[in-house]
């Protein structure tokens, strides 16, 4: 806990008052804050090495290329990909998932095929498959949840059949705070000849991830949720799959040879990196990964677990609070969605904001899940490395104040 409390000094943005109260930032599932070392690395890149990559013979171009490719190897090591060329830089997680749908999906999904996802997917791991299925005449099937809010694996075993060509599931969910058994799902998908696409947006920033151990065929995540700049993300794909896939976009950098009527493509990963990429973003992503590696991902996960262990029992003490997802802290990541009585979460979020506490309120880009839960929206608090037990207590105190202000649970409405 002590190592983590010292980290706050690296995040000047956290040291401010919001509405007259010290800021407690609990919207990390939306985006994390950037530490000074990441910002310094960006500044260093722009002030000393900046040039376009892979196409210059001058020294700066050489250095920028070296930085960009070093970032790829940093990502490779971080998620334990077998080869650096299995790491494709993208705009973000959404872009990475769309890439798979537009290339692998376009080439391999046919009429009558089935795509299996879960009801708890973020829209970015839902709409690409929904639209692909519509276009191809394939069927999109949804794995439901158990009463505890976990993925219903019994149903998964029924739904994933020889008709299934692709299974796309979040590694960690962005509302329920659950971790899905990707390894087991990959095994199941592979047994039926399907590929497994994992959305790692809420997992990679928070826990150790080993794509080879998971045996995921594709694994996508964003940089900004792990303290890198916005606009950089990663698609991991097994080399053999990436090699067989058509390009995503056409333009500079992704070509082998271009003739008047024909073109050939660069080898992976460059085939999928058309145009000037977010070079500084990749450098910033590597800096953020270095920052996390200094802490150790096991320790990051343990730190967030302590915060959830503190929060859930306190919320359980407030009868009007409904927590969505597992109530057992051991089964819960640092993402906690909740409602206070019949108060709309926007009203709750405004009340918390007046106390200096930043939470998200809304459908969290998971409308089919909201429908499944029978609520229009929820509030959501989500932790990261710089949050403390004191932040958890501030949140609970503010929820109690909001409960009093709106006279929730008194039988009268304010």
């Amino acid at each position: 806990m002590e190592t983590f409390s010292k980290l706050r000094a690296d995040f000047p943005i956290l040291d401010q008052e919001v509405n007259g109260e010290p800021l407690v930032y609990l919207d990390n599932a939306a985006t994390a804050q950037r530490p000074t070392p990441v910002l310094k690395q960006l500044m260093h890149f722009y002030q000393t090495d900046n040039a376009n990559v892979h196409r210059g013979v001058h020294t700066l171009a050489e250095r920028a290329t070296a930085d960009y490719e070093a970032a790829r190897r940093t990502v490779q090591a971080f998620i334990n990909a077998a080869k650096p060329e299995e790491v494709v830089f993208t705009k973000g997680c959404t872009d990475a998932l769309n890439l798979v749908a537009a290339t692998y999906g376009e080439a391999n999904i046919e009429a009558g095929d089935e795509i299996v996802i879960s009801i708890a997917e973020h829209h970015s791991n839902l709409i690409p498959w929904q639209q692909l299925a519509k276009k191809k005449g394939a069927t999109l099937k949804y794995i439901g949840l158990t009463d505890e809010g976990e993925l219903d694996m019994a149903q998964a075993r029924e739904l994933i059949t020889d008709k299934t060509k692709l299974v796309a599931i979040a590694h960690a969910t962005n509302v329920l705070g659950t971790v899905n058994p990707i390894k087991e799902l990959a095994e199941l998908a592979h047994a039926h000849g399907a590929v497994l696409v994992a959305d790692g947006a809420q997992a990679v920033p928070h826990m150790p991830v080993d794509v080879q151990d998971l045996d995921a065929d594709f694994y996508a995540f964003s940089g900004h949720k792990l303290m890198a700049p916005t606009g950089i993300g990663v698609l991991y794909g097994k080399a053999a799959l990436l090699e067989a896939m058509p390009p995503y976009q056409y333009g500079g950098e992704m070509i082998g040879e271009v003739h008047r009527q024909e073109s050939t493509w660069a080898p992976i990963p460059y085939k999928f990196e058309a145009g000037t990429q977010n070079i500084a973003g990749a450098v910033g992503l590597a800096a953020a990964i270095d920052y996390l590696n200094q802490l150790g991902m096991e320790q990051v996960a343990a730190h967030e677990q302590k915060l959830v262990d503190r929060l859930l029992p306190q919320l359980a003490q407030i009868p009007e609070v409904t927590v969505y997802g597992p109530h057992d802290p051991a089964k819960h990541t640092g993402v906690v969605a909740f409602n206070l009585g019949h108060l709309h979460p926007h009203d709750l979020a405004t009340a918390l904001d007046m106390e200096g506490i930043a939470v998200r309120a809304g459908h969290h880009c998971a409308q089919p899940l909201m429908e499944e839960l029978g609520v229009p929206a929820t509030a959501r608090a989500s932790f990261y490395i710089y949050n403390s037990l004191a932040d958890v207590d501030r949140l609970v105190a503010a929820i109690k104040k909001a409960k009093e202000f709106f006279r929730i649970g008194t039988g009268e409405t304010k």
């Binding site: 509405n19 109260e21 405004t350 202000f405 304010k414």
Partner: protein
């Protein structure tokens, strides 16, 4: 500081309208109808209006769901425009939208808004402006929609 500031937004009259909304429900028939939603938050309003021969709002009703502010605003809006002529109602919608973003208006325009003028305090809460303006946008869109078709 803290929750005391909330009193500026959640005045008693607003909470009253949210808890006991006026004109909530459906009309048997309507000359003007619109469903408007705010996709970023999921608030939705289904607004129905009946204009008489003199273009006066004879009946108005809404259904929908959303936060305290959006529900109170819809209730206040319908209460304010009922019995008003179409042109008056459109002027009120303009006054409200302008006020929500901090533009000044003559006191007489504000008085015409009735209870709804209290919601112009929403400009102190920029993240919630859309919650308050949704009902007034719906009114404007519903009334103008028809004249577009004329």
């Amino acid at each position: 500081m803290g929750l005391e500031k909330l009193n500026n937004l959640y005045r008693e009259v607003i909470l009253d309208h949210a808890a006991n909304p006026h004109n909530k429900g459906k009309l048997a028939a309507a000359t003007h109808q619109i469903i408007l939603n705010n996709p970023t938050c999921g608030d939705v309003i289904n607004l129905q209006i009946n204009l008489d021969d003199q273009e006066r709002i004879k009946e108005v009703a809404f259904t929908g769901e959303g936060c305290t502010i959006s529900q109170a605003s819809a209730s206040m809006m319908t209460a304010a425009v009922k019995g008003k002529k179409k042109e008056e109602a459109l002027k009120m919608a303009k006054t409200f939208s302008d006020m929500a973003i901090g533009k000044d208006h003559p006191q007489a325009d504000l008085d015409a808004l009735g209870d709804a003028q209290v919601l112009t305090s929403i400009m102190e809460f920029p993240a919630r402006i859309k919650c308050a303006t949704l009902a007034w946008w719906a009114l404007q869109r519903a009334l103008l929609q028809e004249s577009d078709e004329d």
